[in-house]
Amino acid sequence: MKKSRLGEFQELILMTVIVLQEEAYGMEIQRDLEVRLNERLSVGAIQTALKRMEEKGFLTSEWGEATQKRGGKRKRIYQATPYAQRVLREMKDIRAQLWNAMPELGMSKT
């Protein structure tokens, strides 16, 4: 767990990759996240996160189709590894435990 820590932003991207399935390439991920987060992101931020997670073994990728809109350049489709799915689940559990452990007072304030 220690070695494979996910940043918050990375976690969001990872989950988006899983949600988008076959369509999970850079720009699509960015569009999807921009809508969800309601803020503009830079290509650089998304790309850096993707490359880092690929290096850590959370993602694999392969070339997809090329489109006119991309100036004839191919997409790179990302896919989460089983390991990533496991880590995500673990994090969810840890969060759930923490939520349960939080006193009522603290919650009502936020």
Binding site: S42, Q47, R74, K75
Partner: protein, 884 residues
């Protein structure tokens, strides 16, 4: 937006940036993403914004994860490479002592000048920076066009009248300060007297300037008549350690007041202040006296030569608007013939602006430009030495470069290696240069007339901030010097290099080298010509016939009411041939400026003037054309009503020929009616280089408390005579030191600025010559080395040493001739239009002066080349040929 998005393309440079920097394996994906994003954005934004977003996104993509590493996709150990370059460079510098020596010395010489300029400029920049309102403070300047020679005079002064008008009528102005110059007085308390000079100042002095008032109240210290503020050091001289505040002092030698009260002590103006003073006296003192003497100085905008007007504008004020409002105020007064143009000069320009009658040190912009230009030229010259010698040596490095290339070194790497080497050399040079700087610093500071009024202007202290600039200088010089060789060497192909030396000659940039050396020669020749000419002009000015006799006249400064007694005393001495009194010494840039109108006020003339006593014209040998000189001194209570003028004065007022003009009246300063009593021939009133009117008027002088007594002495045993003069003086004036100078020495001092220019130029010329001689020496060594075999064979076949010297030096001779052809007309032009343009009377240029640079360089060149070639030619050809 266009109907189809397809044709709108992404901006070019970000794409190039992407392709250059993003890792190759990521490039396609990221480029595609960026393109898609671009198309998306087009739907919601304008084309321009979309493009801007694209560029912005690109910049944000430049992250270490996505970028290529410097050594390409492979990971290289940069540290190792750097270490290797450093080691190679140091070995090279060590093993080629001649090459490194010539370059380090040459660069060090030129960089010492660079360092000097950095310190000098930053010191000029720091002028007046201690004033809190520096960026909002302005001075009203006055310029008048077309009064004489059709030239403009530009003065730092403006009338008190306009100062008052501005204060009352322009709301954008926060504070107005008026200073009146020429305040000098002798202060006495408890039997102790000291002379002090400074300015009359209005009460807003401390609102405008940030001089620290150590004692006293800044708001009230300059309010009441008779209020005096002393500088710290002046107060020390007069009061020692007692508290001066509130003390009453007796004032002598000043017609405006007899007693004063010390109301404040101000810190001494620092060296970097544009204004210097020993005391300040309230303007109210002056005003009282004006009422007494019934003189209308405040109400007349024509009295602009004696006061300074400083303004502090409000934060958001528009200077152009304020200037035009001032111009409107002057509209009524301005005559059509010579209108007065008032302008605002920002505080940053006070020292370098070049306005006449400045209140403290100034340094002309022209001088800065000249020195900057020469510095850059000398720096370039030293850089060229490096470039030249590196190229000449390229042959030797070719094997190293080819090995580097074969094992995979890129051009960029080899380029940076050579730049690094040059920078390394220049950093050694900068350390040596810093040492040289400290050697030349005292020499520069001791130059006469650095600032125009002779006060201290520079300290040239090196502060830690300068070190950053020195570092930049090092990098700059290293890069410039190393750029061309690095470029040439890094472009070479390994295969060509391995084929051997024969082809290298083509590659080593013979043309560039020749062009650079010719440039250096031209530079040296030009500088020599300039130095010779400036020196000649200086000599010329010293020996110029001013139109009056200055020989054996001693000028003694009078500072008290004893002039009649002293004159009587001197008249008794047998060594004294005659005496005469005057207000100032002519020919030394000291005459006062005045303005007069013809009787019907239709013509006006600007002139310089001097108050003189009865014997003055005779003693100084002025040539009287018509009328008479003054027969007596002005008596007590008598009004001045006659003038002795020169011919130009008559011409400008259209008063006819000298005989007609006698007895005609004019309006002196527009207020006082005066008759012309005599006419003298034109003469030099201020100096040969001062832009002043040629018209002149002498006014009769009475008893004076501060003036000059000219004493003509017999020429045998001057020192004993001087001692006698001093003894008589001391009996009458025990307070002031005996200030006497020979007229001729005083004239020499007037042209000290020329002497300074001459010293600076000849010093730089000397440096430029040293640098180019070093370069020439290096070049000869390498050329002869490359042609050793040829020399030997020629010798074996029977060529004499002289033949060989001629053969090898022919190229250099051609270059020197070409350089002379370029440099001589160029330097004559620069002399005419920049350096000597101020001189209205010019020394003629002879053939010797014009050719001086060429001859000197030719001599140095022949000696250097000849010496080298002789050594080479004297070797036994068998030794050289055997090595094959």
């Amino acid at each position: 937006m266009k109907p189809t998005d397809k044709h709108i393309t992404t901006p070019k440079w970000p794409l190039k940036l992407l392709r250059l920097f993003i890792k190759r394996k990521y490039l396609e994906e990221i480029e595609g993403d960026m393109e898609e994003r671009f198309q998306d954005n087009l739907k919601s934004y304008s084309i321009r914004k979309t493009r801007r977003l694209y560029a912005w996104d690109t910049l944000k993509l430049l992250r270490s994860e996505l970028m290529k590493s410097i050594g390409g996709d492979k990971r290289l150990n940069h540290y190792g490479m750097l270490k290797n370059y450093l080691k190679t460079s140091i070995r090279n510098i060590k093993h080629h002592a001649l090459f490194s020596g010539i370059n380090i010395v040459g660069l060090a010489i030129s960089m010492s000048i660079g360092i000097f300029m950095i310190v000098l400029l930053s010191e000029l920049q720091s002028f007046d920076s201690f004033h809190d309102k520096k960026d909002r403070t302005y001075r009203v300047t006055t310029s008048r066009q077309g009064l004489f020679h059709g030239e403009e005079i530009y003065l730092a002064t403006a009338s008190h009248y306009i100062g008052d008008q501005i204060e009352h009528k322009i709301p954008e102005v926060e504070d107005v300060l008026v200073l009146r110059r020429n305040l000098s007085a002798e202060l006495t308390i408890d039997e102790k007297s000291i002379p002090a000079s400074g300015y009359y100042a209005t009460a807003s002095f401390f609102d405008v300037f940030s001089f620290k008032l150590l004692k006293g109240n800044p708001k009230t210290a300059l309010k009441t008549p008779g209020a005096i503020i002393l500088t710290e050091s002046t107060a020390k001289r007069l009061f020692r350690d007692s508290d001066p505040i509130g003390k009453t002092v007796a004032v002598d030698g000043n017609r405006d007041f007899d007693t004063g009260i010390i109301t404040g002590i101000v810190e001494d103006p620092p060296t970097n202040s544009h204004i210097t003073f020993e005391m300040l006296v309230s303007m109210a003192t002056m005003e009282n006296s004006l009422v007494e003497h019934r003189r209308n100085i405040k109400g007349n905008p024509g009295h602009y030569a004696d006061s300074y007007v400083y303004l502090v504008l409000q934060e958001d004020a528009n200077t152009v608007k304020v200037e035009s409002m001032i111009a409107d105020m002057m509209a009524d007064y301005n005559s059509k013939k010579a209108p007065m143009a008032l302008a605002l000069e920002p505080m940053g320009q006070f020292v370098i602006g070049g306005a006449g009658f400045p209140p403290g040190p100034t340094f002309s912009k022209r001088r800065i430009d000249m020195m900057m230009g020469l510095t850059i030229i000398v720096l370039l010259s030293a850089c060229f030495n490096y470039t030249n010698l590196s190229l000449a040596r390229a042959l030797r490095r070719s094997k190293e470069i080819s090995v580097r290339k074969v094992v995979g070194g890129t051009s960029l790497q080899i380029f940076s290696q050579f730049i690094l080497e040059a920078v390394l050399l220049s950093s050694m040079a900068v350390i040596l240069g810093l040492g040289l700087f400290f050697l030349i610093k005292p020499g520069f500071l001791n130059l006469p007339e650095l600032s125009i009024d002779g006060t201290t202007i520079f300290t040239l202290n090196v502060t830690p901030v300068h070190l950053v600039y020195f570092l930049l200088l090092t990098l700059f010089v290293g890069t410039i010097a190393g750029f061309f060789p690095a470029l040439t060497l890094s472009k070479l192909k390994a295969t060509v290099l391995f084929k051997g030396a024969s082809k290298m000659k083509l590659l080593s940039g013979v043309n560039t080298r020749q062009a650079l050396i010719t440039f250096q020669f031209a530079l040296s020749i030009g500088l020599i010509v300039c130095a010779v000419m400036v020196h000649r002009q200086y000599q010329y000015a010293l020996n110029y016939d001013l139109g009056y006799d200055t020989n054996n006249i001693v000028n003694i400064k009078i500072q008290g009411d004893y002039i009649n007694l002293l004159e009587n005393e001197y008249a008794k001495m047998s060594e004294v041939l005659g005496t005469s009194r005057s207000a100032v010494v002519l020919g030394t840039r000291n005459a006062e400026l005045g303005e007069a109108f013809s009787e019907d006020k239709s013509d006006t003339v600007m002139f310089t003037t001097n108050y003189i006593g009865q014997n003055y014209l005779i003693l100084h040998g002025f040539e009287l054309i018509a009328g008479t000189g003054f027969q007596d001194h002005l008596k007590e209570g008598q009004e001045q009503n006659t003038l002795v003028v020169n011919k130009t004065f008559l011409k400008e007022l259209n008063l006819g020929d000298p005989y007609e003009a006698i007895g005609k009246s004019i309006w002196y300063f527009g207020e006082q009616k005066m008759q012309i009593q005599g006419v003298v021939k034109d003469f030099i009133s201020m100096s040969l280089d001062a832009e002043v009117p040629k018209a002149f008027a002498f006014v009769k002088m009475g008893v004076t408390n501060n003036g000059i007594l000219g004493v003509k002495v017999a020429s045998n045993d001057l020192w004993t005579t001087m001692a006698k003069l001093e003894k008589a003086y001391k009996e009458l004036d025990p307070v002031h030191p005996f200030q006497a100078t020979f007229y001729d020495d005083e004239i020499a001092r007037t042209y000290a600025a020329s002497k300074t220019t001459y010293s600076v130029i000849s010093f730089l010329a000397f440096l430029a010559i040293s640098i180019s001689t070093l370069g020439l020496l290096g070049m000869t060594v390498y050329t002869t080395e490359g042609r050793m075999k040829e020399i030997s064979i020629r010798k074996v076949l029977g060529a004499g040493i002289n033949n060989l010297v001629l053969l090898l030096s022919r190229n250099f001779l051609i270059m020197i001739v070409v350089a002379a052809v370029m440099a001589i007309p160029g330097s004559l032009y620069i002399l005419d239009n920049m350096i000597l343009s101020k001189f209205l009377y010019r020394a003629e240029m002879g053939l010797i002066e014009t050719l001086s640079g060429f001859i000197i360089i030719l001599l140095i060149g022949v000696l250097t080349v000849g010496w080298q070639v002789r050594t080479a030619a004297a070797q036994n050809p068998a030794d050289i040929l055997r090595r094959e």
